[in-house]
């Protein structure tokens, strides 16, 4: 599956009448495609049926595929996770929706103790091809527990794949890949940019790889590494830096686990500087893993200390202060300049 895929597939396909869609519409489009082409794909979660999901990601799917393919579940995340594992072990391809990032903790036991272990535990006799879709992160003025950036805790779990698309095209291609993947995938959806912009995404069933980072912008002075909704601020920062004559490369990690470190290392080998941007708290956030690999595998390339621009090591505040919590464009620009001043 590994491939040099630095560009989105968008626009490349020959599907008819492709129209511009948002990130969340791309998710719906991918679900529908795969459900049309694979009978074993089943969608389940709270309010995913008639209501089409609280974010409308599954809008219309129950009407299209019926209540035996799109299932509302009882209100219990343990139930959703456990059912999903059981269904997957029996040869279905369940795509479960977590309603919000803050409600996934009761699912961890079944993911960590079972989903990622069935293949290993039974020496390949049973497997667990499931996808857990998780609307992720802050910035939508939602109530408590609706704005968590908790991807890091999954990245230490063996056997898992953890991805987070940040564009409509990547959302489409990576969701198709996630459903087709024979092992469990956590698919984080940056909800702040669900409807940020539209992009033409041909509905051609073309999957994207689940193990490559995307270089969104080339640059030569500093490498900005990020994922999810922060792609927005990071690209803005790169533009501001350009205005000041600083050339920033922007990498969307997109696939956190397994990590395509080669793409990051190659960039840092050229720039000598790296700023890692993420919304989750700094300490032991996934940025730490990237910085750690730089410290060991790219040490001699580094011209300046690795910077991390992240959420603070406190809780995501209620919404009056949430934007003060998150990495801002200004903080990214400042950190990038620090790396340039350092050497």
């Amino acid at each position: 599956m590994k491939a040099v895929a630095k560009q989105d597939a968008a626009g490349a396909g020959g599907a008819p009448a492709a129209k511009a869609i948002t990130l969340i519409e791309a998710i719906t489009q991918a679900l529908a495609w795969e459900m049309r082409h694979d009978d074993s794909v089943v969608v389940l979660g709270e309010d995913v049926g008639v209501n089409g999901g609280v974010f409308r990601a599954t809008a219309g799917l129950q009407q299209q595929f019926g209540p035996m393919r799109v299932l509302d579940t009882p209100l219990d995340e343990t139930t959703i996770a456990g059912l999903t594992v059981g269904m997957a072990a029996m040869g279905m391809k369940p795509v479960a929706e977590a309603q919000f990032d803050g409600f996934i903790y009761p699912m961890l036991d079944h993911i960590i103790c079972h989903a990622v272990r069935f293949r290993y535990r039974t020496r390949g006799r049973l497997t667990c091809p499931m996808v857990l879709r998780v609307p992720w992160g802050g910035g939508i003025r939602a109530p408590e527990h609706h704005s968590e950036a908790n991807e890091a805790m999954f990245t230490n779990v063996p056997g898992l794949r953890v991805v987070m698309p940040s564009s409509p095209a990547r959302a489409y291609g990576m969701l198709l890949a996630a459903i087709r993947e024979p092992d469990p995938v956590i698919y984080f959806e940056p909800k702040r940019i669900y409807r940020q912009y539209k992009e033409v995404v041909p509905d051609d069933g073309e999957a994207l790889p689940l193990d490559v980072c995307y270089v969104l912008r080339d640059g030569s002075d500093v490498t900005l590494v990020t994922w999810g909704a922060q792609v927005k601020e990071t690209l803005e920062a790169a533009e501001q830096l350009e205005a000041e004559g600083i050339s920033a490369e922007v990498i969307d990690v997109a696939t956190l686990k397994p990590l395509d470190f080669a793409t990051i290392a190659e960039s840092v080998a050229r720039t000598g500087r790296c700023v890692i941007v993420h919304e989750a708290p700094k300490t032991a956030g996934f940025g730490a893993e990237i910085a750690a690999r730089l410290a060991s595998e790219s040490m001699y390339d580094l011209l300046a200390p690795v910077e991390r621009v992240t959420g603070y090591d406190t809780h995501m505040p209620l919404f009056r202060l949430e934007m003060k919590y998150m990495p801002s464009t200004a903080r990214i620009v400042e950190a990038a300049k620090r790396t340039l001043a350092a050497s």
Binding site: P74, L75, L321
Partner: protein
Amino acid sequence: MRIAASFEIEYLQYLAPDGTLAADLPPQAPAADEVLELFRRMLFLRTFDGKAVALQRTGKLGTYAPCLGHEATQIGIGAMMRPEDVLAPSYREYGAQIMRGVQLREILLYWGGDERGNDYRNEPARHDFPWAVPIATQCLHAAGAALAFKLRGEKRVAVTCCGDGGSSKSDTYAAINAAGAYALPFVQCIINNGWAISVPRSAQTGARTLAQKGLAGGLHCLQVDGNDLFAVLEGMRRAMERARAGEGGTVIEFLTYRLHDHTTADDARRYRDEAEVKDAWTRDPVARLRTWLTAQGLWDEAREEEWIAECTRQVDAEIDAYLGTKSQPPEAMFDYLYADPPPDILEQRAQLLALEGRA
């Protein structure tokens, strides 16, 4: 056929939907003037609820979960608790909370995106649990509180609420199980309003009643008409007395209806038949009690008008207090994180202040 065990679950209803008595009032029913006072609280709650929704619609409040239709259940639950008891609510039990001293401005602050809303200033709410957004987790906290009371030999009861959706949650089952295992002074209120966002009660479980979930843990079980204040009070009275007498926990299912959308972020027309809502209005807890009180000669249109005006004044004053509350400074996100904040936290706090130009 040998029978290992058999069970019966009682149903309580005294006031019929049309406001006439469906059964003799229980001997322990409160005096009419006390009932009148509770009715006033129900109207107060409804006044507040409507205004909170309006505030949200005009952009002055975040997402808000209305309690329209839940007035008898909520006010009745709060009314039967003593100050020393403890309440562990979900996110919607304003009525019970108001009875315990929670201020409207606190409710508004919380839904307005400000942590200070959970810092209830008045007793006895001050020792109650805050709103719990992760469904039903509060039920286990209440069981833990009840366990603390029992271990310390305190005569206090822990009361918790969850919805029909919440009754499916592992935590609710776990709380019921623990309450039974330790014979705790614990009351699990299951507020069955027919819907969990878009999922109807029928899709949550194959159980005939939600009350019977208590049987799984050996608790006492009751089903009551949650739109009948008398039934709510009587059900709660029995449960609280059992708990205080050391006889263990009770699960009460309150049958009511969510007359509004799930929250202001929801549009129930997508999944719910308007006819069902219309029908539910015929069981409105407020109208029903009004009819009864009016028949008793204790209420009339003039008194209602006067009281609504008074409610409006009080609610508006609280809204003003809410709107006049300045946001916390950004560095508040670092406060109350640890009793003894580590250096890294203090450094990040300083960074934030510097960014704000206030270093």
